[in-house]
Symmetry: C2
Subunit: 203 residues, 2 copies
């Protein structure tokens, strides 16, 4: 498209770099921003740059954090021997949202995926092992909250091998049919595995 | 949602102000930006702020412009007595894209819409009349390229009343079935009107 304004063109190009935003949407967003209050757009622009510029990864768990050690790791009321291993920041948010976990986290930064060229050395695995070996007298529980995919299972398997001589028990989050879901719509693999992994009924 | 990082939270809130972007999408966009190169995100943020801060409206036609007078109005090779009246910047872009118009533009900034509380005084109508009265010896043609809606038609009617004593001929862009469209999918109104407004076939 031909833009009569270089300023609009640059803004459209910037917005079009966002995932899922094409040139047409980017133009719509740019023209929306042109119509907004100057202070509002300044705030918009600053919030994004400030986040990128100042964001840290927690020194302990690698979670995104405003400080050297994140809020969760700094919270002394949480069980320090329970570590939930997740792929990303989003998973931490999702689990925190449930209110069902009161331990700490460890963000791997992905899963092992030969197809995407991600090996164990690119993930935050060494620091996880360090966290455990640093306190040899403690009995840790690692809760693997990793996506139930081939890559996820490979990652859990790899971790379990690496951790087998340490004072650690490993669990994975339960897999099965979703609550509120209808059985007929569950995929075969999930349904099949949830039969194999059936649990005694408690009255 | 609970964010462990105020920086991320602020960026998500900023991104969620964009039209069509909810909190979930905003989080996805924010995390995408966290993963990008620092210089890239700085460029992103600056392009948007620079546009909002420096953009001007052309003194003559009200089109978005980087300069006091826009490229189109400054182009002396264009026919200065043909003025295409449009609602917005996007329409100028769309018409320029066709390459079929070689006159100037006038951007109204919307259409008359009592429902949305937009009256003629909020649109750039006075300046359009000024453009024409300033050169009483010229014969102008105004091409109304306004959306074929009730509001659009009202606006054209209002303009024609205001301009009736001036040296101006008024035309509207042709309305009818789209090229390449199938008749059975055209809406009744368009199809009906395109029969009423049928034109002699030229061999």
């Amino acid at each position: 498209m031909g833009y009569s304004s270089k300023l609009v063109e640059s803004a459209v190009e910037a917005l079009a770099m966002l995932p899922g935003v094409g040139k047409k949407t980017a133009l719509r967003l740019a023209l929306f921003l042109v119509d907004q209050d100057e202070t509002k757009v300044r705030g918009f622009s600053e919030a994004i740059w400030k986040m990128r510029n100042e964001i840290l990864h927690c020194r302990i768990c690698h979670n995104l954090s405003d400080t050297d050690v994140c809020q969760v790791c700094a919270d002394q009321s949480r069980k320090r021997q329970e570590i939930c291993v997740v792929e990303s920041f989003k998973d931490v948010m999702a689990i925190e949202e449930t209110g069902q976990f009161n331990g700490l986290y460890h963000v791997l930064g992905g899963v092992i995926s030969p197809i995407e060229g991600i090996g164990p050395e690119q993930l935050n695995i060494t620091s996880l092992i360090d966290r455990i070996t640093k306190e040899p007298d403690e009995q840790f529980e690692l809760v693997m909250a990793i996506s139930p995919t081939i890559e996820g299972d490979t990652t859990i398997f790899y971790l379990s091998k690496q951790l087998k001589d340490l004072n650690v028990t490993i669990s994975t989050i339960a897999r099965g049919v979703s609550f509120g879901g209808e059985l007929e719509y569950a995929d075969e693999l999930t349904l099949g595995r949830s039969i194999i992994a059936r649990i005694p009924y408690e009255k």
